[in-house]
């Protein structure tokens, strides 16, 4: 049975100056589904999830969450919306004035007003889930390696168990084993907690593992979507070129 649609995006357009990045994205994500968006570097994948999260205002189009329009809503509305979503930034975006555990527990401390002791316990628990030992909890983010920072960002995004989680390249910069740990965590967030997830990745192994559905973004539009099985069988030349990583094909890299 098909679940109801959680996020519905229609004709989403966004430009920066003269540069058109999104040129009419249409995308539906069902509740509890794990969608993976693939696409070349600089095609606007990060811009897409920033629009969903409400960090960028699109020029045109609509984004509905649970059937409710989110674009053009006031600050309080956006705040409530953000409380139901978690986001992992491509660059981590950890607060460098706070320790690792304070980063992870930020929402618990600032929004839910949970005591510091309890919040720290919870933060350490989630840090362990992303493969970080409790002794990193008191370090500052700048003392961690890039991959460790990414995992802290991941822990911060999932700690409140949001309904919708957006992951921007969660496994980039991780070794293959740790990448698989993170894949498991994403699968568990989706299946175990029932969250709707949207993951951006270049890592096809990761995409195969976590995706219920894959969508490909090219020249500002979703040019193909389907399940992993369909992806392997498709004769769409763009998708074939991308998943096999060939320099030859219809996608031209601009140098």
């Amino acid at each position: 049975m098909e679940k109801e649609i959680k996020i519905s995006i229609r004709n989403l357009q966004k430009s920066f100056g003269k540069k058109q990045v999104l040129r009419g994205v249409d995308l539906d994500i069902r509740a509890g589904e794990s969608l993976v968006v693939i696409g070349g570097s600089g095609t606007g994948k990060s811009v897409l999830i920033k629009c969903i999260q409400g960090l960028l205002t699109p020029d045109e189009g609509s984004i509905k969450i649970d059937g409710e329009e989110t674009i053009g809503k006031n600050a309080r509305h956006l705040r409530d919306l953000n409380a139901r979503m978690g986001m992992l930034f491509q660059g981590g975006a950890l607060f460098d004035s706070l320790s690792v555990w304070e980063n992870v527990a930020f929402s618990l401390l600032e929004n839910k007003k949970i005591s510091r002791d309890k919040a720290k316990l919870e933060a350490v628990r989630v840090l362990r889930q992303v493969g970080l030992a409790s002794d990193v909890a008191d370090l500052s983010p700048s003392e961690l390696s890039g991959g460790m920072q990414k995992r802290v960002g991941l822990a911060r995004a999932v700690i409140t168990r949001p309904e919708i989680i957006l992951f921007d390249e969660p496994t980039t910069g991780l070794d293959p084993i740790m990448a698989d740990v993170i894949n498991d965590l994403i699968v568990e967030s989706a299946k175990g907690l029932g969250a709707t997830t949207l993951t951006i990745t270049h890592d096809m192994a990761s995409a195969r593992k976590i995706a219920d559905k894959v969508a490909m973004l090219y020249e500002g539009k979703i040019i193909w979507q389907g399940t992993v099985k369909e992806m392997d069988k498709t004769d769409n030349p763009y998708v074939c070129q991308f998943i096999n990583g060939c320099a030859q094909g219809p996608i031209k890299m601009e140098f």
């Binding site: 409400g54 953000n82 930034f89 660059g91 975006a93 950890l94 607060f95 460098d96 929402s107 929004n111």
Partner: protein
């Protein structure tokens, strides 16, 4: 030919002017938002406390050094200057008036603008370019409430305290030079300071300080907040924060002096 030149002239004039008007509009918008979020809960007292410490406590040495030398030099200058009119006895009052009205507030504010305005712009600018400000928003925390309001409140409150201490230190500097170098009788010097002392001198200086503190925090936050494009952008924001704050301090110093003393 004539009209072509005129058009070019207007064009050259127009672009910076339009840019200036846009920037000014942005600043006003930022100001309005800041004022709103300074009064609307929640307040982040921990961040406020950190700013008080950074802006206040750690600025004390700089402010102390600035004002003590200002007081000393004004004693020396007015003594040698007033000798022409045979009015050396006015030194104590001149020190008091110039330190409390002008030197302590303006010099302290300029020093703090260099120290704190720059640090604010660099910190908030880095947070902007590393997406930490976006991250705050995704965690349902308003960056104006979390970052800007604590800094602005701290600027409003800390600068008058610093300047009040600066007043005392500066007057003491004048006293030291007056007594140990110029040979005034200590009791006479203190008496003539106290006799001519007026509350308005001190109060006007403290009000100025508060306004300057607001300007420093506002320009630091504004320039940091709108910075983009990596390390270079942050560097630019830092420079702009200090330069714009310093200029605004000098302009508002004149305006406030008019308000207080021109009758």
């Amino acid at each position: 030919m004539m009209t072509r030149n005129f058009q070019n002239f207007l064009r050259a004039l127009g672009k910076p002017l339009v840019l200036f008007i846009i920037r000014f509009g942005e600043l006003v918008q930022f100001l309005v938002k800041t004022l709103y979020h300074c009064f609307a809960p929640p307040f982040y007292f921990k961040n406020f406390g950190r700013q008080l410490l950074d802006m206040g406590f750690y600025s004390l040495p700089v402010v102390g050094l600035t004002t003590i030398f200002a007081g000393m030099v004004i004693a020396l200058q007015s003594y040698s200057g007033f000798a022409r009119f045979g009015a050396e006895s006015a030194v104590a009052s001149v020190v008091f008036i110039s330190v409390t009205r002008e030197l302590a507030p303006v010099l302290s504010a300029l020093m703090v603008a260099g120290r704190i305005g720059a640090a604010m712009a660099a910190e908030i600018g880095t947070m902007r370019v590393t997406e930490q400000i976006d991250a705050l928003q995704t965690l349902s925390t308003n960056p104006f409430k979390y970052l800007v309001a604590p800094r602005v409140w701290s600027g409003l409150i800390v600068l008058p305290i610093l300047v009040f201490l600066g007043d005392i230190i500066g007057i003491f500097g004048g006293y030291v030079v007056g007594v140990y170098k110029l040979g005034f009788n200590p009791a006479n010097y203190i008496n003539s300071t106290l006799e001519n002392m007026e509350a308005l001198d001190i109060i006007s200086g403290l009000v100025k300080a508060s306004v300057f503190g607001f300007i420093i925090a506002l320009m630091g936050c504004y320039n940091g907040y709108r910075s983009k494009g990596g390390a270079q952008g942050v560097g630019e924001a830092t420079t702009n924060a200090v330069v714009s704050a310093s200029i605004l301090i000098l302009i508002f110093n004149y305006i406030l002096t008019e308000v207080f003393f021109s009758k």
